[in-house]
Symmetry: C2
Subunit: 355 residues, 2 copies
């Protein structure tokens, strides 16, 4: 059997570290290198940087060019940012080097939603370099779009789609909690919305455009709405305390319209300790149409674990994909990798790759 698929991970934060650890677990994948934006990580052993108790004998690089030269990767998994504006520079550099890219930047799930021009540029470059680029993650990339779309496959007709994800932010750190306004008074929450320090969920336009493109709907407009989840009880995690009357998180929703009718509604209340007020976490997809479909799972699919899994499980999909920029619904559905990753790669993908 040929050599392992060499993977470089960009980012050694919580997500990048989880992705790197999962790459290490998978037969047929080799963790060939890691890049960190933070200069203070430079030279640190990758094993330590990603939370292992052992060295891997490879240093973290903080210069992407050098990281790529040393790692000679087939695939890069990018976990350094959320926006297309931030993601496009490293992705462009990777693609120019003939490296396939999987990004968990939320806006990369459907890049044309934030910038059709930037998306077209990445697409053209990927085609010219013969590599594939895809954005993935739990949301956007899975619950609010891929899973919704797959379920519509059994429908003759659809009037409307509603998907709700009620999750628990308790495991998250200070920056995520701040972005959802956890612990703020009503006044401070409103202020945070104006100042854009409270942002809610990043990814509704991406999920909506992915659904619309798959179904053939022309979306007229998207309305987003953010409001505080006012707690009636005291809630506490290592990184936040919510007093009664203050915000335990953000109820963010988006509605998309076709011909004046609301056809897609996505609802994502994110808060700490929802169970303290009897709220069960879950993912629910409801389709009104022929037939009506309702699927749900409780508790919700855990976001961090799932995003790392999707990023790594997409490695064979990206290697098998035609050159270009893809979204999750352009490619075969992801699957857990339980055997050797090389066994999932079509021969033609290897032949096409010049390494």
């Amino acid at each position: 059997m040929r050599d392992a698929i060499r993977v470089i991970v960009l980012g050694t934060g919580q997500m990048g570290s989880a992705i790197a650890r999962l790459v290490l677990e998978k037969d047929g994948l080799e963790l060939a290198g890691a890049y960190a934006r933070r200069a203070e990580r430079k030279g640190m052993d990758i094993g330590r940087a990603i939370g292992l108790s052992k060295d891997l004998g490879l240093p973290v690089h903080s210069d992407l060019r050098i990281a790529v030269e040393k790692a000679r990767p087939h695939v890069a998994i990018q976990a350094t940012c959320s926006t297309l504006a931030e993601a496009k520079e490293p992705i462009t550099a990777l693609v120019q080097n003939g490296i396939h890219v999987i990004s968990i930047a939320e806006e990369m799930a459907y890049p044309a939603a934030s910038s059709p021009e930037a998306a077209a540029k990445i697409r053209r470059l990927a085609v010219s370099r013969g590599v594939a680029v895809v954005g993935t993650g739990i949301n956007p990339g899975f619950v609010f779009d891929l899973l919704v779309i797959a379920l519509t496959g059994v429908c003759w007709d659809i009037q409307s789609i509603t998907a709700t994800r009620i999750n628990d932010l308790s495991p998250y750190g200070p920056s995520v909690l701040a972005s959802q306004g956890v612990g703020l008074s009503l006044e401070k929450f409103r202020e945070g919305l104006v100042k854009r320090t409270v942002v809610g969920h990043l990814g509704f336009p991406q999920s909506i455009h992915m659904i619309a493109a798959s179904l053939g709907w022309d979306i007229e407009r998207i309305e987003e709405h953010r409001e505080p989840i006012i707690s009636t009880v005291r809630r506490e995690t290592p990184f936040a305390t919510v007093q009664p009357g203050c915000s335990a998180g953000c109820l963010h929703s988006a509605v998309a319209y076709v011909k004046g009718a609301p056809v897609i509604t996505l609802i994502h209340p994110q808060q700490i300790c929802p169970h303290l007020e009897g709220v069960d976490t879950d993912d629910t997809i409801e389709i009104k149409g022929k037939p009506d479909i309702r699927f749900s799972g409780s508790p919700e699919i855990p976001g961090g674990v799932a995003t790392a899994a999707l990023a790594v499980n997409m490695v064979p999909r990206v290697l098998n994909a035609p050159a270009g920029l893809h979204c999750m619904t352009d490619l075969p559905a992801p699957a857990a990798m339980m055997g050797d990753a090389r066994g999932l790669i079509r021969q033609s993908a290897w032949e096409g790759h010049h390494d």
Copy 2:
């Protein structure tokens, strides 16, 4: 915009008729012809044959060669049989004529499960003729395989998968009910199992091999088990009566083993009037792994409606696919077609088609 995508439907039974009616509803698709195996349908107007109250001005053909000559289809949807042995002749003829094929024959969902040789033959012919062939349907093709596989995409590791589909056979006709042993005494049910008149669900090996191929599991063996669902009450539909103590249907299950461990369990009790004994119909997928996943929907996705929808919704997927024989997990997930079907076709697919 270019002309509509011409679709021929093979089969004017319950499923073929539903598929043809749905083709008529969809913008960008044209019902270009219909073929019936039954000679007595020959010459009948397609509209009447598929249950419309109007003529369509096109006759049903009972000679496939003539049907294809008249219809000049881009895509054929085949709904005449369940087994690969029966399906391979018409599919071969269609592929030889450069026509893409979507089949709802259960064994076509993963043809290599019943005959790797026949599958390889269809694959080679499809590649040589530049067309794509795929098998689909609610099961195999969706609940027990595609949906399961997509959900595994969020997993780092999997110990086992269990999927259960509890459905209601009340809408079905005599042949389906007979195949599930509805109304039989325990003794007659056992006799039917031996004589293979009671067969249960057709498609477990196909779903299991599809999951295993996607995840990279080497299946050692599959055990199937069929037993009567003994009713304690009287149950009745237009086509069957079940006395207390007799069989209301068949509880059919399959277990697949990897390295001695049961890793995939598929459970499909099929019966009439399950609600009379307080049984709710549903589809449930449970994954034990990292993380555990449980998704379910009640009532179950209606099988007939869903199979017709999947067959028609796969038209753009098949036109966009590379030439060859595919299963549902080789292609992007299906989606309901809410716009013009032509808008979902990549330009290259049209360019590649010589009509």
